[in-house]
Symmetry: D2
Subunit: 139 residues, 4 copies
């Protein structure tokens, strides 16, 4: 029940593995079963009207679960998403970053399950919720 | 943002609408955006080995979201489930009731979204998580 | 890519493992990647109004995926559901059995994914759709 | 039960509404309850190793359901995704476009439900499956 990576190690590992998302995400808080990560919103994440797009919300939820899982299992790049269920509940605020609050619900030998709530920065009500399953490669 | 039914009114309404489940569920706690409900486990809810079956876990999550939604919109029997995503994470403890903790994440005009965690009574780790969408009939 | 159990062996194995559901389900058709199974509807499966309940629809979808997975991996009772996403789309017809059409989409070493459509017997439009993941025990 | 837009009108409408995705998607086939659409894969859709990323697969499934729904209800830009459940089943082939096969399962007054299978171009087995619900604005 201990973390195998801290915020710095985790962030460096993910930026090295996924060069494409470099600068997009900032892990702001990490504990043994929770994590907060920010999507640094830029034009490429937006829909017309200036709100964050569905695929960008999915990407944030997915990355939040990935960071959370890696923090516990260590630098296993081959850990992959097998399932995601996501509910889009409110329109994100225009011009605001998106913040993901992730909770690790299960860490098994084969599967990790994480719940995520997404908020527009500074807003009290979630814009989306998601649950994600990651498959952990055999040791 | 106020409750339209308290635990007593809510319980009586649901038992009247769903005679089949009479005695199965006990609402133990209710606030504006959360609810705790117990599945009073009997033989019909069990699998071989004495643990609660998947359909019984689904039924509890579904009823928790139904109670939560009704408590806010009032006695609308025609409110129906449109979607459920459920993750089964651990084997329930044998011989224990199942407790659902529901959180209302969104109450819109057409749709209500509720998150549910299920626990074996007295155990700290959830056996399942679910998110459910109810469709609210037009006024 | 061959079946490890035929309809007769499969049905006997499941009735032996799950005595509780004896007589509830009839496998009507089976191929390497598809299966049709009937829920023999009785009073215990109904809601007021005479339509099949949500938990009974979930149970049918879950059993369809279980039969389909077992037919391919053999009699592994410990195969368990890890995830289900289900959409309830139409009210089932009163007084009609429910028919599940399952398609096996993936059979991996650890996970099997099955899609299911549910129909009221004799009706052309599905009442529900579901996708289920089963975790396969290590050999 | 008739189409309100053909491939040309549909494609022009979507490219006008979502300038950001201009050139990314090509609708290749359309009927009253099915649609085939191609993700024209470029570097921005890839992960290290050259395979299509999870968010790009989500985006394709989401757009397939959006095209399918719009083809039936007409040019309603405010139609929005409320829910998606997606299973990632196989690694996409490197250097191949991704093809979505969508089936419209329900078109109600408030909600449309679409099932989607995603394939690497030329491969027989799906890389992912998804089901999506769109909320249709009141007339």
């Amino acid at each position: 029940m201990t973390l195998k990576m801290d915020i710095k190690t985790l962030s460096e590992f993910v930026e090295q593995v996924f060069e494409q998302v470099k600068g997009d995400f900032t892990v702001e808080d990490l504990s043994e079963d929770s994590l907060r990560v920010r999507l640094n919103v830029t034009d490429k994440h937006l829909r017309p009207g200036g709100t964050v797009s569905g695929p960008s919300m999915f990407a944030l939820a997915d990355m939040a679960a990935y960071y959370m899982t890696l923090a516990r299992i260590g630098p296993e790049a081959l850990t992959v998403t097998t399932n995601c269920a996501i509910d889009f509940m409110r329109k994100p605020a225009a011009g605001a970053d998106l913040i993901a609050h992730a909770r690790l619900l299960k860490l098994g030998r084969q599967l990790a399950v994480t719940d995520v709530l997404l908020f527009s920065d500074g807003q009290p009500k979630p814009v989306a919720r998601a649950s994600l399953t990651y498959s952990i490669p055999p040791q």
